[in-house]
Symmetry: C2
Subunit: 253 residues, 2 copies
Amino acid sequence: MCTLDVLNIKRKMSFPVSIYVLSVWLGFLCVMFVCLWSGTWRGGFAWDGSFLQFNWHPVLMVTSLVVLYGNAILLYRVPLTWSRWWCKRAHAGLLFVAMVLSVLGVCAAFDFHTANNIPHLYSLHSWTGISTVALFTLQWFVGLCAFLLPWTPLAFRAHLKPLHIWMGIAIFILSLITSLSGINEKLLLTLNGRNGSNTKPYATLPAEALFANSFGIAVVIFGLLVLKLLFGQKWKNPESENETDRPLLTDAR
Amino acid sequence: MCTLDVLNIKRKMSFPVSIYVLSVWLGFLCVMFVCLWSGTWRGGFAWDGSFLQFNWHPVLMVTSLVVLYGNAILLYRVPLTWSRWWCKRAHAGLLFVAMVLSVLGVCAAFDFHTANNIPHLYSLHSWTGISTVALFTLQWFVGLCAFLLPWTPLAFRAHLKPLHIWMGIAIFILSLITSLSGINEKLLLTLNGRNGSNTKPYATLPAEALFANSFGIAVVIFGLLVLKLLFGQKWKNPESENETDRPLLTDAR
C-alpha cells in the first residue's frame, strides 16, 4: 500500500461525516426556506416585472452562491473515491450551474427595478452582491483557462493555485455577507408598509419575520459548517496537493 | 541556532508585511469612517436615549468586534519578537477591551430602543448581532479559564484549542456579516424618511449613502485581509503549536 493510500484511508477515517451530513441537510433546508418564503409568503413567481419576478432573486442567489457554491468548494475535502479528474470536472460543473443561476438571479432584480423605476445598485447589499457575482464570474473563467485547458504553463498554474483557493473562500464569505444583508433589507422594505404589502411591521416580529430571520440563521450556520470543513487541513486530499504539476486535459487525451 | 529559530526567521521572511500594513491602515480607516458617519453625518454623540445615543452603537461595535478583534486574532500570525507569554496576554487583553466596548455598544442600542418604545431584537441584524456578542463573551471566559488559569488540565487545553481557534474565526465572520447588515439597515431606516431625518432617500444615493456604503466595503476588505493572513499556515508561529503542553501562568510564577 503506497503512502497516498494510507493518507487517504486516514483522511476518510478522520473526516467528520456527521458535520458534513448536517451541512448537506442545512443546504436543503436553506433552499426550502427561501422557496417557501418567496413562493408562499411573498406570493409566488412570475417573469413580468412585478414583485413576483423579484421573488426569483433570493431563490436563485441563495441556491447558487450559497448552497451550490458551498457544496462545490467542499468537493476537495469530502473523502470521495472519485479521481482528481472527476473531482475537478464536478467542481467546475457545479460552479458553472451556480454561475448561470446567479446571473439569472441578478437579472430578475435588475428587470424588476427597471419595470418599477427603482434605481439599480444603491444599497450596500447591492454593492457587495454585484462584486460577489463579478468576482465569481471572473474566478470561474480564469479557473477554466488555468486549470482545465491544457495549454496553460505549469508554472503559471502553480502560482495561481493559492490565489484561486483564497479567492474561492473570499467569494463564499462575500456571498454569506450579501445574503444576510439581502434578507434583512427585503424584510425592512416589505414588512414596513412599503412595496404594496399590508403585513404587520417588521418591529412587531410577525410570523413571516420569524420565518425569514430563521432562514437567515440557517444560511449562517450552513456557511460556518462549510468553512469549518474547508479549513480542516487533515481532511485535504493529499493527491490534490500536486494537481498543478500536470495539465488536466492531458489526462483525458 | 535551533530549529525553532530557523523556522521563525523563515516565517518572518515569508510574512507578507505589505498585506499586514494594508490591513492595519484599513482598520484605522474603518474606525475613522464610522466615527465620521456617526459624529458628523448623524449629528454626534450623547447618552440621553436620543438618536445621538444610538450613534455610539456602530462606532463601538465596529471598533470592538471588527478592528480590535481582527488585530487580536492576527497576533498569532504577525512575526513579533514577543514571547508566547506576552503574545497570549496581549491577545486576551485586546479581546477584553473589545468585549467591554461591544457590551457598551449593545447597551447603547438597547437603551435607545427602550427610550423610544422600539422593540428589541426583531431584525435579522439584531439576531446575528446578539449571537455574536454572546458567543464572544462565552469564548473569552472559556479561553481565560482554559488557557490563562494554571489549574486547567493540560489534556483539556489540548482538546479545547482547535475549537477555540475555530470559534474565534466563526465569531469574526459573524461580526463581518452583522456589521454589513447593520450599516445597510441603518441607511434603509435613516435615509428613507424615517427616524426624523430629512435627507434624500437611499435609492437616490446621496453623499451620506455613498460614504457609508464605501465604509461597508472597507470593512469587508479589512475582514478578508485579516482572514487571508490568518489562514496562511506558513506564517503560523511554530512555538505556539505546543502552547497547550504547559499551563501559561506557571511561566510567570
